[in-house]
């Protein structure tokens, strides 16, 4: 364990729940019991019973939550695997008669890069534009859909801006053209009620670490009638649809957290109230801040700010040093921020994208935290704008002298 450095704030406030969530307190309190579940679910002896039971229970609970059949749930390592599996499966099974893909321009890299890979294998990929208000171009979808379309893949909620896309409507269009429909639903659980049957999806993908359970675990909804092909071949787990011994602790953690996901009304309403409070306070106290897609349909926990004359990278570091975790653009695995491709795809300028800040609330966020955050944010922004102004004045002076 790392001890606290002199520059670590006494308490940290976590406002980056779209990147990952902290573990649910219930999960923490029941951690020890997870460690007793060690058996290989494929074994025959009695030591495997607890593992088998966990798999069965979690699968049933998920099916109830999503209103689907337990057979339609495949446990895997998370949404990146899920997204790659879906695109790959659809291509492999259908490419002889349908080889066009329609995906939104603001998808997660696991969809975008899988699509690039399919392009290299001969698929034709159309990227559906999304404008700066977060509205997806339905006319483009209608134009491009044809008897050659294999799959339409649009995320339900965008991780960076929180915008929600009209999945039900897009699903209807896709199915009318005989295409399959996939939605990356990684940002939804714990934030809104999801009914897969109502949305009429063929595929939906999820990661457990976005809803207070563990990293490296997730699941994929695959409609019974939808084609599938295992990405990982193995010992017949998940009815031959995903090889490899199941991540039992991860799935057991989902099983525990699911009890809290069944009724999230109170939590989601509170997150919405706090998110709106955050935006109102910023409106009141800080000048020249825009909110991306503020008037669009958004998930209730996300706010994406464009702060004029402030570099998002520096703002993030300053906030971090004061004890606040937020993000700018998408969290990048190298820790090396580039202007967010999602914001660029939405038509924002490089400068705007580099001045962006994403605040994403969680179940544990409190009003006090939001109030403190806005006051710290305000002070940092004032300071950074002052330094920028001084530098600009100096640069102008030098230009003038030259």
């Amino acid at each position: 364990m790392q001890k606290k450095s002199a520059l670590s704030a006494a308490t940290r406030i976590y406002l980056d729940n779209n990147a990952t969530t902290p573990y649910s307190p219930i999960l923490k309190s029941r951690w020890a019991e997870l460690l007793d579940i060690f058996g290989n679910p494929s074994s025959i002896h009695q030591d495997s019973r607890a593992s088998k039971a966990v798999l069965r229970e979690a699968r049933h609970k998920l099916a109830n939550l999503l209103e689907c059949s337990p057979l339609e749930i495949i446990f895997n390592s998370g949404a990146s695997e899920g997204n790659c599996s879906v695109l790959n499966a659809v291509f492999e099974v259908t490419n002889k008669y349908r080889n066009e893909f329609l995906i939104s321009a603001v998808e997660h890299p696991s969809v975008l890069k899988a699509a690039v890979y399919l392009q290299s294998r001969g698929a034709l990929v159309h990227y559906i534009p999304v404008n700066r208000d977060g509205v997806i171009d339905l006319n483009y979808i209608k134009e491009k859909l044809s008897v050659r379309t294999a799959l339409v893949s649009v995320m339900y909620a965008n991780n960076e801006t929180g915008t929600l896309f009209p999945i039900k409507e897009i699903s209807k269009l896709a199915h009318k053209a005989g295409a399959l429909m996939h939605a990356d639903c990684v940002q939804t659980l714990g934030k809104l009620n999801l009914n897969i049957k109502d949305l009429d999806l063929d595929y939906a993908t999820f990661s457990a670490h976005k809803f207070y359970a563990l990293k490296g675990t997730g699941f994929c909804y695959v409609k019974k009638s939808a084609p599938w092909l295992a990405l990982i071949h193995g010992g017949g787990q998940e009815r031959n649809r995903r090889g490899g011994t199941e991540n039992i602790i991860g799935i057991a953690a989902i099983n525990i957290v699911l009890d809290q996901l069944i009724n999230t009304e109170v939590r989601t309403t509170e997150m919405l109230r706090l998110r709106n409070l955050l935006e109102e306070l910023i409106d009141q106290d800080i000048s020249n801040v825009k909110f991306i897609a503020r008037n669009a349909a958004r998930i209730n926990n996300t706010s994406c700010l464009i702060i004029n004359d402030v570099d998002g990278e520096t703002l993030l570091m300053s906030l971090d040093l004061k004890g606040y975790s937020v993000s700018t653009g998408a969290a990048c695995s190298s820790g090396n921020p580039e202007p967010s491709p999602v914001l660029l795809a939405m038509g924002l300028s490089r400068t705007e994208a580099q001045s962006s800040l994403r605040v994403s609330l969680g179940w544990e966020t409190t009003e006090d935290q939001i109030v403190k955050f806005v006051s710290v944010l305000k002070n940092i922004i004032i300071k950074l704008r002052e330094i920028n102004r001084d530098v600009n004045i100096l640069e102008k002076k030098i230009d003038h002298e030259q």
């Binding site: 001890k3 520059l7 704030a9 330094i387």
Partner: protein, 365 residues
């Protein structure tokens, strides 16, 4: 939040090498609040993972810097400087070679990134100081003016690369290892259990790596442009054409190996003329010059017309005495002893009693 006994907050530039790692560790010991930062200056995503080892800015080095920061328990950030580095270091580097000069990219990196971009970050992050792992020292004169002085390690001294520093920021700089010699720095790293203690020194230019600068230029510049750099090798002073060459960027002043021809005497590159791509070669004695013109000068302290200074004309050069005469574009240097292989594109840096006075760029014009 700041520790009450803190000596102030420092932003330390960490490359992942032993010098800047020890610099950061010493600052922590001395009671500063330290924040580490690495500038990501080059996109290594397409590099072979085994490549770039032992140079100062590959992504492996970013990881090394991060793990040292973890070990000494300080916050650490990666700053994305790729665009700025390309515009202010890489492009001028390539253009200099294509113009027949011998560039010095480390100075531009210091001018535009370390002591400009990082100074801004220092202010933005509420830091009082900026520290680097340079072999250099900051000393205060009798008027309490901060000045840059050479490191006690003559061999490693890096003040040659620091002549463009704005004099107004010198008092904000900390060079925590400038009073140490390299073996002592390694020993401290060893004692503190920093795993970079035995890491190889970076040699050469960080973004070029082991492949050599000619290969780097070949990768970065289109073949059509490189074709325009072909020309003739001529014997000095007769003008006799000795052979053809594949591009002036492949030659540097003083070079004698790899001239692509055999000759009964050893020949050296004396001069490169970009106008018609002529590479002049001749006897070693013609490499020596007493008079050197220097432009775009920058001074940390006043330079006196007609005075004598110790002058370095390349990094690993033993400073030589020269008299300074101010000119319209900068200065003219008259060396007491003629100097070998004075190369345009390199810097001439002036010292008085180990104090860095300033410098400028060597030119033929």
């Amino acid at each position: 939040m700041s520790n009450k006994e803190s000596k102030g907050r420092v932003l330390v530039a960490m490359s992942g090498g032993v010098d800047s790692s020890v610099a950061a560790a010493l600052l922590v010991d001395q009671g500063y609040d330290v924040i580490g930062a690495t500038m990501q200056v080059w996109d290594y995503s397409e590099c072979d993972i085994t490549e770039g080892h032992g140079t100062c800015c590959s992504s492996i080095d970013v990881d090394d810097a991060r793990s040292v920061a973890d070990k000494i328990n300080i916050p650490f950030y990666v700053l994305n400087c790729e665009a700025k580095f390309k515009a202010s270091v890489i492009d001028p580097f390539i253009n200099a070679y294509l113009a027949g000069e011998t560039p010095l990219p480390c100075v531009n990196c210091n001018t535009y990134l370390k002591f400009d971009h990082l100074i801004k970050k220092m202010k933005e992050l509420d830091c009082d100081f900026l520290a680097t792992g340079h072999y250099a020292q900051v000393v205060f004169d009798e008027y309490n003016q901060a000045q840059i002085q050479t490191s006690i390690d003559d061999w490693k001294d890096q003040t040659y690369f620091l002549f463009t520093i704005d004099p107004n920021i010198v008092s904000k700089l900390l060079f925590p290892i400038g009073h140490l010699k390299k073996p002592a720095v390694r020993q401290i790293a060893e004692d503190k259990g920093l795993f970079v203690a035995r890491k190889k020194d970076s040699t050469g230019i960080c973004f070029v790596g082991n492949k050599g600068y000619d290969q780097f230029i070949k990768e970065q510049v289109s073949p059509e442009i490189l074709k325009l750099k072909k020309g003739k090798i001529k014997r000095y002073p007769s003008g006799e054409i000795m052979s053809e060459h594949e591009g002036i960027h492949l030659y540097t002043i003083g070079q004698s190996k790899g001239l692509g021809m055999t000759y009964h005497e050893k020949l050296f590159v004396l001069k490169i003329e970009a106008e018609d791509n002529t590479v002049w070669v001749g006897e070693e004695k013609a490499l020596y010059a007493s008079e050197v013109n220097v432009i775009e000068t920058q001074w940390l302290t006043e330079v006196n017309d007609g005075s004598e200074y110790d002058v370095k004309i390349r990094y690993q050069h033993k400073a030589a005495r020269a008299t300074v005469t101010k000119t319209k574009l900068g200065i003219k240097l008259n060396f007491v002893e003629p100097q070998r292989a004075v190369a345009p594109g390199q810097a001439a840096v002036l010292y008085k009693n180990q104090k860095l006075i300033g410098g400028g760029w060597i030119t033929l014009k």
